[in-house]
Amino acid sequence: MSVMKRVSLIFKAKANKALDKYEDPRETLDYSYQRQLEMLTQVRRGVADVATSRKRVELQMNSLQQQQAKLEGQAKQALGAGRDDLARDALTRKSSLQTQLTDLQTQYQSLQADEEKLTSASQRLQSRVEAFRTQKETIKATYTAAEAQSRIGEAVSGISEEMGDVGMAVQRAQDKTAQMQARAGAIDELMASGALDDVTGTPHDDIQAELDRMGGGHDVDLELARLKGELSQGEAPREIEGSGAGGAASQGQAQASRPAQSADQPQAGDGS
């Protein structure tokens, strides 16, 4: 069992080092217990760091979603005013925010998973530290130094392995959290500067820009169509009410298309 055997030997060597440190093995118990308490503090701090990072990402997700809602509102407004070009612009910005949002969602899930893992690791360690403390007191009260040797060896090896495991998990989570904090900071700065609102401000190479335009353009067209649908549904009843009884449906349509018509052909509006 090569890999698993080798990893376990490395953990054992670490435990033996701790056991060899003191002449009286009972001193090892106290020393190990101190280390356990320190490790518990470290794990709890790790859990708190990951939670803070997760909350920050959550806040950023919320404000990106608000920004998207705002852009959609602007798109509707623009369409209502017959400004398809402005609506398209707003929807394009909205679609570019989606990339950031998807990235944040991935980070959020990863942080959530880390938080759960560390929380249960912290609970495991806590239970083992309590078990160790009980055993430590029993060993100290019952056995002479010579008799205690083997029992101490087992307890210390067991807990030392747990601490190594938890310690590695905390280190890894903290490295990852630090990276994410840096990225979150960058997004905060982008948001503050308003760069995320402006698609043209994002650096892209030409081909990517072209691809984005093709890929994103389709979405924007679909959304334009959807919003137009919503608008015409929403406006039809109002027009019916305003125009009285006869020929309501066709008149409603004529009303809705009038702004575009009158812009192109003022004389048609005068004639009617």
């Binding site: 090569s2 890999v3 495991r124 055993q135 090896s157 067991g158």
Partner: protein, 92 residues
């Protein structure tokens, strides 16, 4: 025997599973030696999921050292190399 999956805890596994785990472990080692990332991933996945199925989790207050220790399911080949190269990495 007791097997630990790093980051997950300890499992009691019947000794009868030894030869099966041996084969999977040999595949993992071969993948690390061959520097084959894809083989490494599938060997580690196979080993981790086999131990999860075969094993029973040890109670939280257990203080027993493990017979075997397996890197965590998300470990990369570099993580495993670092782990095998020395004890400097292991805190505690």
């Amino acid at each position: 025997m007791i097997v630990r999956i790093l980051g997950e805890g300890q499992f009691e596994v019947d000794d009868a599973a030894t030869s099966e785990l041996n084969i999977l472990d040999a595949q993992l080692e071969a993948a690390v030696n061959a520097n084959d990332d894809q083989a490494f991933r599938s060997a580690l996945d196979a080993l981790v999921s086999r131990i999860r199925v075969l094993g029973t989790a040890l109670p939280d207050d257990a203080l027993e050292p493990s017979t075997l220790i397996l890197p965590d399911a998300e470990a990369t080949m570099d993580n495993v190399r670092e782990m095998l190269s020395g004890e400097g990495l292991i805190p505690g």
